[in-house]
Amino acid sequence: MILASEGMWFLTRASGMVALVLLTASVALGVVTSVGWSSVRFPRFVTIGLHRNLSLIAMCFLGLHIATTVVDGFVPIGWLDAVVPFRSPYRTLWLSLGALSFDALIAVMVTSLLRRHMKYGTWKAVHWASWAAWLVAVLHGLGTGTDTTNGWAQLIYVACAAVVLAACWWRIAVGWPAHIRPRLAALIASLLVPLIVLIWTFSGPLQHGWSQRAGTPSAPIEQVAR
Amino acid sequence: MSTVSTPTRSGSRSATPPAGLPRLIPTPLATDLASHLTHFGPVRPSRDLHGLLSQVGDAGLRGRGGAGFPTATKLAAVARSAGRRSLLGRRTPVVVANGTEGEPASVKDVTLLSYAPHLVLDGMAVAAAALGADEAVLCVDRRHNGLFSSLACALAERADLDPIPIRLAAAPSRYITGEESALVHWLNGGDARPTSVPPRPFERGVADRPTLVDNVETLAQMALIARFGAAWWRSVGSPEDPGSFLVTITDGRRVPAVFEVASGRRLSTLLQHAGIAPTTPVLVGGYFGSWLSPEQAAAVSLTRTDLARFGASLGCGVIAALPDTVCPLREVARVARWLGTQTAGQCGPCVHGLPAIASTVEALGRADVGHRADAELRRLMPLVSGRGGCKMPDGAIRFVASAVEVFRDHIEDHRHGVCGRLDVRPVLPVPSADGAWR
């Protein structure tokens, strides 16, 4: 039985967007913690607490995003496809990016909840994956999402990207020139990657016929979830 | 001279044990294996850990690297750690000989390694056999190219002799490299910076295995004890400070001397013996140690308790007399500034505190801010001492605090615009590090 498609579909897109916004805020707050900025109105424990709580709320919205997608029978996506990539025939690559991002975020969340019970170095190494998870989530959104051509969605993407880039540059700048090699690599990546993504977005998702090229099955209406 | 030959534990006869001093470095020199064995006789490293522990324990040998920790206790700790069964990996111990000698004014370890390398290597073999170690490393500061080659030759000579192969490692040229956990961290592929303890190297060191880290002189003494027994070893020195120890004696104007002495001697006698006028302030223990005023130096004997009366300790054995013609404030400020550049950079109080303290020392002699600098120095010292991850800041504070006490009058002179010390060439050595941490 196909559940109320329209409602689910809106919820999926909305919760996905909200999750992205929350993740963006989380990345920014993570950087604020890392560089050690604080003010009288934003003491460090507030920054750290917000970072943690917003991340957890983001995961909730992510859970909603996944649940509404799966429960919505309109497209052939099952529960397993949320964590195992390259299973669903629906826009396989772009969907899988979502699964990969989710996998990374689960790892970050679990290690963070258990950070006192593991080596600091281990926790830190996994935590670095959150940058990649954010980027991959954006690519997932651009490739899978039906809102890529929508003006509001584009505004949100651009705003989130601006925040993350600013946070990234702040992180690179503070403590310069210690650990110069990774900083330089990150700087170069932070300039190249947005450029590549921008070019790709204009030539791919924003172009006519993306839906087909992305791998949307020809008769989604006939597929039933489960 | 009696010719009593002492049976070794294995029952066969060894050479005559040296009577009196010196005992570590023979006359004539015996740097090659053949003459070494002729002079000292063979040593038979055995797996009898209990035997070695009782010998070294009875002898009362303490570490010669500066901390003075009882060697038998350390050996036992490594053995105990190795004996614990573990689900994760091997517990076979490792022996590390610390010959890095990062203390700039000290040359005793380099001297020992140059003129009695086989004694140090014997000690390593003895410790390794008793502990059941399968790996032994001799660490030397990489700036000593010549020494490295001669040690490599010495090792080649005894390839068939040692129960396990001993390898050489050329450690970074930094003050902090010789710190136990820093050396182990470097051997494990990391930077030569101290690591968080616990666990200490005796629990988890090289490759996470129980590791014995001993100064090269300690191991050389161990080799003597293993040959000639604890009773012989205690025949020099005092009951509370038995045996002999090497000291570096310098006045900065001539090549430093290395003496092998026994506890109990008066410092002034030793200085006179070295041709140094015993009327100057003396730094005991290197930059980790403390200053003695001329009066204190004249009164003190080289025993742990007597030195402790003046808040001093022999440490790594550096005894540096500062000539009367040299400005002590300039010297102390130079060394304090250098120490600030030698931190591992890991602990805030040390990284920030030592340079801040160096700045106050530099300002001590100024008429305008001298008193404020003094107050600031007193405020900073407890903020730095004891708040690092290793003992380096503690040693630096001790060095500065004792200097400020001993040179109080000269500092006052400075504030009145009079130094009067015309010898401007630096005395205390302050090497430039090559900067590498690996």
């Binding site: 050690g36 006192r116 600091y120 926790w123 | 920030h352 708040r387 991850g389």
Partner: protein, 68 residues
């Protein structure tokens, strides 16, 4: 059973969150690094000490039980 707080100076990066959350037991020095008050943590403050240890971004602050 009482507890005390212990600092690993090598892991500590001077974030200072601990001093914000447990000012009764932790103050910051000139350079932003924590100075721990000696002795056991008073029972009514244990909650804050644990929170401070848990919030440390570098996991440099730890709780140790002290006998009794």
């Amino acid at each position: 059973m009482s507890i005390r707080i212990v600092l690993d100076p090598i892991a500590c990066d001077g974030h200072g969150v601990c001093a914000e959350l447990f000012p009764e037991g932790i103050t910051l020095d000139d350079w932003g690094y924590p100075i721990l008050r000696e002795g056991d943590v008073p029972a009514h403050l244990e909650r804050h000490a644990r929170r401070a240890a848990s919030a440390c971004p570098s996991l440099a602050l730890k709780i140790r039980r002290t006998g009794a």
